[in-house]
Amino acid sequence: MRKKILTVDDSKTVRIIVRKAFKSYDCDIFEAGNGVEGLAVAGKELPDLILLDITMPVMDGVETLTKLKSDPLLKAIPVMMLTAEGGKEHVLKIAKIGVRDYIVKPFKEDVLIEKANRIIELKPLADGPGKVRSILDSAEILIIDDKPAIVAQIQEGLKHTPWKVHGVSTQLDAAEACSKQLPDLVIASLTLPEEGAYSFLRMIRANLKTKYTPVFALVVKTEIDAQHKAQEAGFNFVVTKPIDIVDLESRMAKAMNLDMSGRYYTMDDDLLVLRLPENCSQTGLAEAAQYLQPKLAEAVDAGQNKAVLDIGGIKALDANVIKLLMQAMQACRDLAMQFALVANAQLIAECKGFEDTRGWTFYETYEDAKANLGKGAAKAAPVLAGT
């Protein structure tokens, strides 16, 4: 739930700075220019936190605080003073009335955020409202492992992605790397000395900027106890060795909340293209199926009415591939979209061996399918057996 923060300050400058400081967090900022306005807004909005100045016209901060604390409805709202009044006696006097924290101006936005986060849990907005990151976008991946071979294996396995994969060998190096460039995802080996992976996890969770960064643990498959311990400690996922790179990539993309549709669906002129990649796992098939309806709807909304369903890259046909193609073809029919199938000679031969796929017609190249769709060949193009 979005947090509500009320800033009560007669300076518009301070209110702008507060708004700016919190803009990348999931919260609404309410403003008041003096204590009277502040009490009114607090009563109406019941904010999660009040930032209160002291020296203000109409009603100052001390009187405002006293009234807040004597109001049964408002007294539980945490108040943080944000004021230039910072003499020790003054601070003690106000602390006795009841404040959760006290910031003396001048202040840095980071300090304000950090202190506010100790009172209410602030959640950073992912990448600004409305922007969804895609599998085709760059991402920073940090691997903490003192075995260079493991780092190299993951780098090699992910080299086809746009992700930048960096390896460090110690927890300290990882902390330094994070201070220079915030990672989008971290993989930490559980075999680091002195439980370094756990210390790193605690550090990253304690920092507001990284507390939601996915952290995977890395451990040998047979170390069952270590896997359970890592799950209980709060690692987002436990990667087991030997590493299944295809599965790891999929888990990473999901943990980073990436839009995966770009891996399977592209637009080519007026065509929607579904193309299964060579190393498409069962997880990949499920992902492709998940995006099928939204991508078709998107294409129709964009005025496109042709689709190519290309399985030419995959190594073997199985029931899930057939199921996906059947779903895709049926969806195209429902939306009155022309479509064509593409497969290699081996897959086409395999299709002849199944009752359900025997009647399907394929093109052997994408270019052929595209050219024939353009000629209106879809009417003669693949039909489901039995239809």
Partner: protein, 168 residues
């Protein structure tokens, strides 16, 4: 009631130097250097357009601090504090600059007077006000102590004029 004379010049100078430096560094990331050349009371007054923030404090000791900035520099400071460019600032008008310089002065004077509070001279701040203009002169009463200090911030000059008087 403590007398103003008890407050040494070095305490005033050190506190205002620290206050100006902290505020400019924290709010704008700008370094400010104390200009050791002797400042003459009222030297912030200039024929060039000025924006002058004023904040007072009252208590066991009363005072008024003026922060003099050239208008161009005041605009630059405001843009930096609020993260605006020159065009945005222009469209917002003078009120935004007045408010930002008022708050900047509030922070400087707050920091200065908090140190006086902790040194045994309890007092509290008043609300900031702004003066704009050129070729004017601020005079203090004979019973008041007046200290002026000059600072440099890059190629700009910042002047603080401090008027102190014992509390009633």
């Amino acid at each position: 009631m403590p007398a103003v004379e008890e407050i040494s010049e070095s305490l005033i100078r050190e506190n205002i130097t620290r206050a100006v430096g902290d505020v400019f560094k924290t709010m704008m990331g700008r370094a400010v250097a104390f200009d050791a050349a002797e400042a003459v009371p009222g030297e912030g007054e200039s024929s060039a357009p000025q924006v002058i923030g004023t904040v007072g404090f009252i208590g066991d000791i009363n005072g008024l601090v003026y922060l003099y900035l050239a208008e161009d520099f005041a605009n630059q400071c405001t843009a930096q504090i609020l993260g605006m460019n020159a065009f945005e600032l222009k469209t917002k008008g003078e009120a935004v600059v007045n408010d930002a310089i008022g708050e900047l002065t509030n922070m400087v004077v707050g920091s200065f007077k908090n140190a006086l509070c902790d040194a045994g001279y309890p007092c509290k701040l008043t609300i900031p006000s702004i003066l704009r203009g050129r070729n004017f002169c601020i005079q203090s009463t004979r019973l008041a102590e007046r200290r002026s200090y000059r600072f440099t911030c890059g190629s700009h000059r910042v002047v603080t004029d401090i008027i102190l008087k014992s509390g009633d």
